[in-house]
Structures are given as structure tokens and as C-alpha cells.
Amino acid sequence: MINENITLAFENCKLEKRPALLTYIVAGDSNKKMTLDILKAISPYVDICEIGMPHNTSVADGKQIQNSSYRALKNGTKLNDVFEIVKNFKKIEPTKPKILMGYFNQILQYGPNKFLNKCKNIGVDGLIVVDLPFPENKEFADKCKKHHINFIQLLAPTTSTERMKQIIKHSHDMIYYISMLSTTGGKLKLTPKQIIKNYFKIKKINKDKNIVIGFGITEKTIQSLKQADGLVVGSQLCKGISNSLKTKRSPVKTLTNLVKLLKSKI
């Protein structure tokens, strides 16, 4: 076990015979305090919190997450703010897993070792680095392991079976399966049934890994995917923030309601 919080979160969900609910919001969207307020408000319904480190050249993100990132950056969000959000959230929810997600250049400029030490000190449990694929990520993933941080490998519909085996072999406890050919937030191109079928092909390679499905999941589709170990909802939440800001409603309330709804479906 590399990271206790993540492993326990999945175990608890299994006891409750349901998938883990993972949420993604961008740190600093639209300011530091709001992100912390949202995290506090939704965390009773969420099993694992993913927190985006906003980046301005995000080649794998769709419009919704881009908008969130631009808002956060425009308001001056820096990596230290992201760390502060995590640190403060950790005080309130010490065992709730916290995963940071971002692009490798952010880590490279901060300094990979310094970054991982910081993550460990403030209680980051996992990392998703969108543009650091296998096998280029081996060295960094090993470093994560030494810091008790889960480096979360990604699998895509284009990943060959042979490659999947390799990646899974080198993966930590949790793996992220991208459901379809898309940036984040696209419309589902496959039926949930097809996605689940593909998912179980991967699951068969190693049953012990916790594999979550992400990309394109909303309250409309989440129910039909609930056989998975975990389901990630991101763009829909980012869109919720955008819409609330536009209509001058409280993003905290909107997101709380959305997350409650998502939870009720699984």
C-alpha cells in the first residue's frame, strides 16, 4: 500500500457496495476561499477530492475546465495557493484523499523533489500528471511512491492491451481510465454499456487495482456506470461554477446540490 487514505476510501465504498465518487474542481476557481468552501461543503458526499492546479496551456482539457483554469489564473492563483487550499482542507478532513492534477511543466519549474516534499508535508495523497505518460513517468512515479503519494497512471481507449499490461504492472493502487476519445468534458461518444464492457476488459488484467472512469460523466450517465470502482465528475462541476457566477448564484450551493444528486444516483 502506497497511500492509506486512497486505499481505505475504496475499501469503504466496496463495503457499501457502490463506486467511489470522485470530484474535480480547479483550485482558485474563482478564488481561494471559494475553493475551500466548496470542498468543505461537498466533502461529506465525496470519497476522493481531485484538485486541479490551473494551467494556461492545458492540451487535454475541454472548454469547461479551461474556463475554470483561466478564472483561477486571472485571480492570481499560484501553486502556493493550491498548497494552502489543500493544507487547510486537510485540517477539516484529515483522511479524505486529496489528489492534485496538473501538467508536468508546473512540477518541473517548481522542482520535482521540492514539489513532492511539499505535497507530502501538506497531505497530498495522489497525483495525476496529464502529460507525463508511461514510460517517461517511471522515474517520477517511483519518487512519488517514496513519498507515499499515489502516482495515478492513465489508460485511454487508444492504449493497446500490451501497453495496458505494462502500465498496470507499473501502476500504484489507483488507475484512471479515460472513457473515450475526448478532452475533458466532451459528450459521451460511447454508450455506458460499451464503456463498462471496455472497463471490465481492463479490470481483468489485474482485479486488485482500483480503476476509476472519467471524462464525460454527468448526473445523466453516472448511474449506468456504477459497476466501476470509482467515477470522476469534473467538467460538470466546473460548468456549475461558471453558470452560478453568470447568474449570480452561490457556486457553493450549486455544487453541493449537484454532488448530492450525483451521490444519490450511485
Binding site: 483561466y70 485511454a156 492504449t159
Partner: protein
């Protein structure tokens, strides 16, 4: 010390992670793109060894692009300035008006060989987009071009050409609304459509395979030049300087490719980046201004960025050079000290344009005008037996709006 290996194509001098000098380039891409990139790499490696494919390429270069583009002496300018003799390789004579046609043709051919019907590409100055739309039309491919809205406004003639060729322009309104955002958006589209669609990257940037394909394609320029130099001088001159503007770097690498193994004391490479407006801190010159190594569009390179790894906004009068990053190949050439890089301001480029347009029969676009600015500065300081060749890789037609705005209606 970093060294360039002799007798080995520069594009192949990477390690198993596709890094040049162990640190430039690579494939920093989302997992989804790993497979399409691997497939494309295999296909290109096969095709470049295939004599039939080479014949096909050469056929289109000869009959469609038009080879060779001419090599001319700039008598008036050389005479006026004194010192070194200034020549130009008039690559803007190529069909479409710039070097971007070589890469576009090769990508369209690869797309056909891959059995794909859709092709996408990015563009800044609009040339890469125009050429891809031409090649797509020629080979019956459906084409989408991603372009920043700021560039669409300032390079309208090329936008018109893209549409006339039947391609669709996808306006990109995010970030700085220029080339950097166009490439990002194009890559995003490819992430979502890589099963049916071939991606062309408009310069020697992006994941390694795109750097390779592009540099391999533009190498045509130096293959022609080496012959033309021998015709003109009987041999390669003892003191030769090859000056080229550098945005992503596809034109420069193509201009220098065949000269790589010459001693740099004999054949010097000078790359000219966009220094931006004279009194502004903004620029697009990562090599000249000692930017740090970072990752942009899937490759490690010197890139204009802030301490947090956010890509910085750039500025240049020339849309084609207005890009925060630069080819990993140029980072490699810089660190190996095979090439040297400098930058000139918007104002210097405009002045160079005026001088050349007034003196000569060519009207270089704002990108090569950056290179001419350096030639003009250097020539008087050099001996008469020094030969300067500038790659005039674009024509000023596309810049009419900017030239009129900055220099008035009767600008040359």
C-alpha cells in the same frame, strides 16, 4: 559537452525517449495520443525509407511546389551597404508563397498513406494553414485549420485563401488568441478525433514525430541551395553565413540541414527571433533571451514562461514568429553551439523590409524581414569575400494591412 554527430540526420540524433541532448523534445502527451503518435512514427519511418514514397514526394515538390526556388544576389543592397555580398534564397516563390508548402505536402501524402480522409493543422501567419488547405484540396482530404482570432484579423489574405481552398477555419479565442493557442486547440481536437483524423503541426514543434516530419520536409530548401552555391561559386564559399528567421524553426532548420557537417567557421548559422516592439518587455525570443527549459505542446524546449510554468504572452509584429517556444532542434543546435541566435525588434524588421523592397525585386514578409535586418547590420562589418544568404521564406502580400498601418499607404 553537447555535440552534433556527423553523417547522421539531425532529426535522428535523439535518445530512446526522443530527447535531443538528453533534454529537448520528447513526447509529453496525454495517454490518448501515445498510440496515434506511435502509429505515425512507424508509418513515417517506413515511408522515408521507401523509394516509391521519395519519388512521390519529389514529384510533387517538382511539379506542384516548383523546384528549385531561385537563388539571387541582392546587388543593390550589397553595393549600398558594402562589406559582405548578400544573397537571397527566394523560397517565397514556392507554390503558395512560403516554405510551409513542403511540410503540408508531406503531411497530406502521409495522411493518404495512413488511409485517413481528414486532416487538421494550426497556423499563425496563415501560411501553414493556407498550404495545408492547398495540399488537402490537391489530395481530396477534408481540412480544418485552427487559427487565433488575433491572427485572423492581422493575416486576412491568407484566411481568404484557406477558405477559397475549401478548408474550414476554426477560430481560437482563448488565451492570447495567437499561434500558441491555435496549436493547443488543434492538439485538443486531435485528442478527440485521432481515430479518423491526421494532424499536421505547422512547424518543427510538438511531439517528436512532428518535429521530424517537418524538418525532413523543409530540408528540400538546403538540398537546392547547396547545388546553387556550387553553381554560383564552384564550391561552398570559405566564409558563408546562412541567416534565417526562427518562429517554430521549420524554415531555418530546412535552410541549414544539408550544411550541418560543415565547420561552423566556414558555414555559420544565424537564427533570428522576434524581439517584439522596441520599448516592450514582451518578445517571442526564447533562445536569445535565455528562457528556461519547459514543456510546451508535448516537447521540452526553451520557452517563454513564468516561474510557475505558465506559458507567457508574447508579442511580435510578425504572426509567424509570435510563438513562446521553439523547436527542440534549435535548442539542440544552440547548446551544441552549432548555431547562434539573436533577435530583432518589430521596428528593425520593418526598416529591413523597406530597404529590401526598395532596392530589390523581392518583397519579403515580416518573418524573413527579421533575418534581413541582421544581414543588413552584419554585412558592412564583414569582408567582401563573405557570402551572406538570407532565406526569404515568405512574401509581404499577406502583410499588406500591417505595412500600411505602420508605414503608410506608399510603403515601398
Amino acid at each position: 559537452m553537447i555535440r552534433i554527430q556527423k553523417r547522421k540526420p539531425i532529426i535522428d540524433q535523439h535518445d530512446k525517449n526522443y530527447l535531443y541532448a538528453g533534454k529537448f523534445g520528447g513526447n509529453f502527451v496525454p495517454e490518448t495520443l501515445k498510440k496515434p503518435i506511435e502509429d505515425l512514427t512507424k508509418l513515417f519511418n517506413k515511408l522515408r525509407k521507401d523509394k516509391k514514397f521519395i519519388r512521390e514526394r519529389d514529384y510533387y515538390f517538382k511539379n506542384y511546389v516548383g523546384t528549385p526556388t531561385s537563388f539571387i544576389k541582392l546587388y543593390n543592397t550589397s553595393h549600398q551597404l558594402g562589406g559582405a555580398q548578400i544573397y537571397a534564397k527566394v523560397v517565397s516563390e514556392a507554390n503558395g508563397g512560403a516554405h510551409k508548402i513542403y511540410n503540408a505536402i508531406v503531411h497530406a501524402l502521409i495522411c493518404k498513406h495512413a488511409g485517413k480522409k481528414y486532416i487538421i493543422g494550426d497556423t499563425g501567419a496563415g501560411y501553414a494553414g493556407k498550404m495545408l488547405s492547398m495540399a488537402a484540396k490537391k489530395f481530396g482530404l477534408k481540412c480544418k485549420i485552427f487559427m487565433g482570432t488575433k491572427d485572423m484579423a492581422r493575416q486576412k489574405p491568407n484566411c481568404d485563401a484557406i477558405r477559397v481552398n475549401g478548408a474550414e477555419i476554426i477560430p481560437v479565442d482563448s488565451g492570447s488568441k495567437t499561434l500558441v493557442d491555435a496549436v493547443s486547440e488543434c492538439m485538443r481536437y486531435w485528442v478527440s478525433n485521432c481515430d479518423t483524423t491526421h494532424m499536421c503541426v505547422g512547424s518543427t514543434v510538438g511531439p517528436n514525430i512532428f518535429v521530424k516530419i517537418c524538418a525532413w520536409s523543409t530540408a528540400q530548401i538546403s538540398r537546392e541551395l547547396i547545388v546553387q552555391l556550387k553553381e554560383e561559386f564552384g564550391k561552398i564559399p570559405k566564409k558563408l553565413k546562412l541567416i534565417n528567421c526562427v518562429g517554430g524553426g521549420s524554415s531555418a532548420i530546412g535552410f541549414w540541414n544539408s550544411f550541418m557537417d560543415y565547420n561552423k567557421k566556414q558555414v555559420e548559422f544565424i537564427g533570428v527571433e522576434a524581439g517584439g516592439p522596441k520599448n516592450s518587455k514582451l518578445h517571442a525570443a526564447p533562445l536569445t533571451n535565455k528562457s528556461k527549459i519547459g514543456i510546451l505542446h508535448g516537447a521540452a524546449q526553451y520557452v517563454v514562461q513564468d516561474k510557475e510554468g505558465q506559458i507567457s504572452e508574447t508579442a511580435s509584429i510578425s504572426a509567424g514568429l509570435d510563438y513562446p517556444g521553439v523547436s527542440p532542434l534549435h535548442c539542440f543546435l544552440k547548446d551544441a553551439k552549432r548555431a547562434r541566435y539573436t533577435a530583432v525588434s518589430d521596428e528593425e524588421a520593418l526598416a529591413a523590409y523597406q530597404l529590401i523592397a526598395k532596392n530589390e525585386k523581392i518583397r519579403p514578409s515580416l518573418e524573413p524581414s527579421h533575418a534581413f535586418a541582421v544581414a543588413i547590420k552584419l554585412a558592412p562589418k564583414l569582408s567582401e569575400d563573405t557570402i551572406i544568404v538570407v532565406n526569404s521564406c515568405g512574401d509581404a502580400k499577406k502583410d499588406e494591412l500591417i505595412l500600411t498601418k505602420r508605414l503608410g499607404k506608399d510603403h515601398d
